[in-house]
Amino acid sequence: MKFTVGWLKEHLETDATLDEIAQKLMAVGLEVEAIMDSSETLAPFVVGHVIDCSPHPDADKLQVCSVDTGDGAPLQVVCGAPNVRAGMKGVFAPPGTTVPGTGLHLKKAKIRGVESNGMLCSERELGVSDEHEGIIELPDDAPVGAPYAAYAGMDDPVIEIGITPNRQDCLGVHGIARDLAAAGLGAVKMPPVSAVSGSFRSSISVERRLGDNGDACPMFVGRYVKGVKNGPSPRWLQDRLRAIGLRPISALVDMTNFLTFDRGRPLHVFDADTIAGGIHIRLSRPGEKLLALDGKEYTLDDAVTVIADDDGPLALGGIIGGESSGCSAETTNVFIEAALFDTVRTAMSGRKLGILSDARYRFERGVDPDAVVSGMEIATRMVLDLCGGEASELVVAGEVPDWRKTVEFRPARVHALIGLDVPEDESLSILASLGFAARRDGAQLLIDVPSWRRDIDGEADLVEEVARIKGYDAIPITPLEKSRAVTRPALTAEQRRRVAARRVLASRGLNECVTWSFMPGEQAMAFGGGSDDMRLKNPISAELDVMRPSILPNLVAATARNVDRGFADVALFETGPQYAGRAPDDQSMVTAGVRRGAAVPRHWQDRGRDVDVFDAKSDVLAVLEELGAPVAKLQVSTDAPSWYHPGRSGVLRLGPKKTLAAFGELHPATLRALDCEGPCVGFEIYLDALPERRSAGNANRGALDLNALQPVDRDFAFLVDADVPASNLVAAAGAAEKKLIVGATVFDVFSGGSLGEGKKSVAIRVTLQPLEKTFTESEIDAIAEKIVASVSKATGAVLRG
């Protein structure tokens, strides 16, 4: 919403400066978005008189002019405008001026060898329009040397404010003045609206044919004015409209635009001679068309409120007028409309048809329902003043809807809600200044809401009115009391895990990413997602059209982008949600990671090594260990999801059902689909599946069992079938003597050579812990025999000689 200070002062008696006005607007919640003070930016520009004009000696398109600027001797100015000529008056800018339209700083300069002492300007250079065909031409009577902004009526500062959706009452300058007056910035001017007495009955009748949809247009007031002359509107009106960015068109059109912004009261004026029969307000019929004033043709459904005549729609109620019934220079008889349109239907129709208009903007937020007739009277008065003519009696269809609203107000609620003690009489006087009327009903204090405040819903709204007029600065800063002196944990165990998972992986050299929750549908299918119900109806692009079933594809794609930028070795992870379905429980928290390129980069001591499945497994185990998962108890199996390499991937489980993580080399088809060149491994840790950690208040770790006797290591090399998992051998070894064996690990694996087809050698080291006294050789031999027997039994392995 834009307006000028001069315009505001038509409604507000005040001596406030521009700065004070701006501050107060902010304080009452009318956010100042911009102030354009042309009297400042255009200060150096004056009316200049081109006394003489001759061709530039060295340039075809340039003229050397002598310009009287009203200040001393005429100045020599080089000008390239096609319309510059001796005798004309234009807008002159001296050296030292910053040209607002171009940002250029003018200097005295030689142009092709001829000195130029300033510039004659176009509208674009002044920043007042895009016009740049030539320089501005002023009338002959323009006073030489006068400041151009004042001469052109552009010295009135323009204020642009943002209006929140609730403040429909401030979509007119009058409403803004009312708020400022209430906040102590002066007195609002309220000249009485005098009714124009009609001298004849309108030949155009109005009928509401809305049936059950009467709310669509509860009231329509029309008036016929005959014998008007629709020329250009007067200068003051044109200046006002131009200042807020509207182009003056004709007196009748300018009047409606003016009242839209002056009073927040959209109106429409029909050329009465184009109307066939009477006017009826009805809902549109499917397929009906209207060529609107924006030059576009709209095809309507069955739900748009239209103003129609016997031939069809003339205008879309509360949204836009029609081309055929619009006013032109030839218009002599007009029919003025002041009506009320339903907020919801106006919003829906406007959105459906894609029409943004000043009328729609106001009607969809709610126009003062009690100002239909007064709006008509103001409009009629303006038409008669600007265009002459003779007005009919009012034609009224429908009636003012019941807008009255009463809200109970307990003045003590002001202090309770905002913490500021405002005496009751002060609260009531603030409300009164905004148009609210207070009355008592027994012990109750009732507040009648004025017709223009469609947003007031309850007591809290009244408290806000008092608070914002008092100013939020007055609200005392009060510390938020803590219920306990020492801060208690704010995170649940699950939330702490996420933080820990991130920090473990970052400490292992991976870079954390945050990628979109959505991804390309086609790729999602390869990750078990992309079903229709996970698709967005209105995606921002086809690349981001379904909710991700896994984080991995986004990370692989990010990896590929980094590889393309020249980074061969990439390690990325993300901790975030993935979506198996729409229900809240279908969303789970996952930490996923990708490593690509070298796991160990080439170094002068080392030839380097590419990433492999064990890097991914190692990341997974490090995270699980840190998160307190019972890593030693986990089972490994080879049934990882299809996006992993089937022979180089695995799943870690706790018990048969709880899958904690998957890891592995990524399937070549996955990499190809995501345009990523390997080697590339990945992992996914399903954080929500992790078992609960210890309960609060129990941090006891148990006693440390320190055995004075040294453990003993024994190595065993087994020959076993190649497809037997090494972990089976380790498990069987450990099971041989549960109390005494405290560790077992694989330290060598090889196949081929003398071992024979389908066989491999697995060497394990077993650590034995004596409990009472040091082992004797024979005791160790006995244990070793048990180990060999156990491993053989479980895996078919034989001890290599």
Binding site: T164, R365, Y472, G509, R582, Q587
Partner: protein, 360 residues
């Protein structure tokens, strides 16, 4: 051995030999020949037994001195030779220490995670707990319960992403984390003191808007909290977060359907030379929206508004991360460009705490 050597001559000779030994082997040979079982000094010592007591009285101490000083000379020489040998080995072992170390990659924490942890640290200290809810929401939690009935004009400002419809349940991606207010208030009794960081979605994309971004919602509901507390809480937050004790602030009336009265909070900044600087200066920057929870919202959640009241606020995590750490482009947060991650990311050990400081 028939002739007894003069002890003094023997001592001089052996010490000279020790001092001139130029290897540990040579020195060992000398030691054996002097002090070994059949060594010359040992042999000399043996002659004491055959001496007359008087003679022994003088020769004994002299011979012992001789033995000690020879042993001492040999030991000294051994230490010198060993030191020289070590020195020599060390010279041989010299490496070019300008060579690079084995490469280790430094991982990083994303600014969104880091700033979220900062927010949690600050608000936890004011007694807030973390709450969460799903990204895929329904109309009730995202709009209706928050006092935005179907045709509310504010809905249009939300640019909502909808999931392809299946029947009556129109599901959407939450446009704010205020949804969790509703989930918390409908599932637990007041009082509430919650913050809700999380992903939020709006169908918008340019320099300052991305289809996904992060928001933290705050909610305080009890019987006494008023707008003065809201100011106290948020001023305290802003000053702690930006680490500027005299950070200028102002609260302006604004409008949100779910709060009444509503406000926006601005903090002081300067934009000299096009560079935004938080703190002094004569300009203002909006950082968050807030207000007293609208009684309608409380009613919608089954909380009695005549008994309970409180405030709510919401701010963009990515946005305040940009402001604090000078990150120019919101879109870059989600591009996973390694160069960006390394430049703007945080060390794994840089865990924000109030005691240790929020930012290094």
């Amino acid at each position: 051995m028939t002739t007894m050597q003069d002890p003094k001559t023997l001592e001089d000779e052996l010490i000279a030999a020790a001092n001139s030994a130029n290897s540990l082997d040579q020195l060992e040979t000398l030691r054996v020949s002097a002090l070994g079982r059949k060594g010359r000094v040992t042999e000399l010592m043996k002659t004491l037994g055959a001496m007359a007591p008087d003679e022994r009285k003088t020769a004994g101490p002299a011979f012992n001195r001789l033995k000690d000083s020879v042993a001492e000379a040999i030991e000294a020489r051994r230490a010198a030779l060993e030191a020289a040998a070590i020195d020599e080995r060390l010279v041989q072992e010299r490496v070019d220490i300008t060579l690079p170390v084995r490469p280790e990659t430094r991982g990083t924490i994303h600014p969104v995670s880091q700033v979220t942890e900062e927010l949690i640290a600050i608000f936890a200290d004011m007694g807030f707990e973390l709450a969460e809810g799903p990204d895929i929401e329904d109309d009730f939690h995202n709009f209706t319960a928050l006092n935005m009935p179907p045709e509310h004009p504010a809905r249009q400002m939300h640019d909502t992403f909808y999931l392809a419809s299946d029947g009556d349940t129109q599901q959407l991606l939450r446009t704010h984390t205020s949804t969790v207010q509703i989930r918390a208030m409908t599932s637990r009794r007041p009082p509430h003191r919650l913050i809700v960081p999380g992903r939020t979605y709006r169908s918008d994309s340019d320099m300052t808007h991305t289809p996904m971004f992060h928001q933290v919602e705050g909610l305080v509901i009890d019987k006494t909290t008023h707008m003065g507390h809201l100011k106290g809480c948020l001023i305290e937050f802003a000053r702690a977060f930006f680490d500027i004790d005299d950070l200028p602030y102002r609260f302006r009336p604004s409008y949100f359907p779910f709060t009444e009265p509503s406000a926006e909070m601005d903090i002081g900044c300067s934009r000299d030379g096009g560079e935004l600087r938080i703190g002094g200066g004569d300009d203002w920057l909006e950082i968050l929206g807030c207000g007293m929870v609208n009684p309608r919202v409380l009613e919608n959640c089954g909380v009695d508004p005549t008994e309970y009241q409180g405030f709510a606020f919401g701010l963009g995590i990515d946005r305040i991360a940009m402001l604090k750490y000078g990150i120019p482009d919101l879109r870059s947060f989600f591009e996973s460009d390694l160069r960006w991650l390394r430049h703007y990311g945080f060390s794994a050990l840089d865990v924000p705490t109030l005691a240790g400081g929020l930012a290094r």
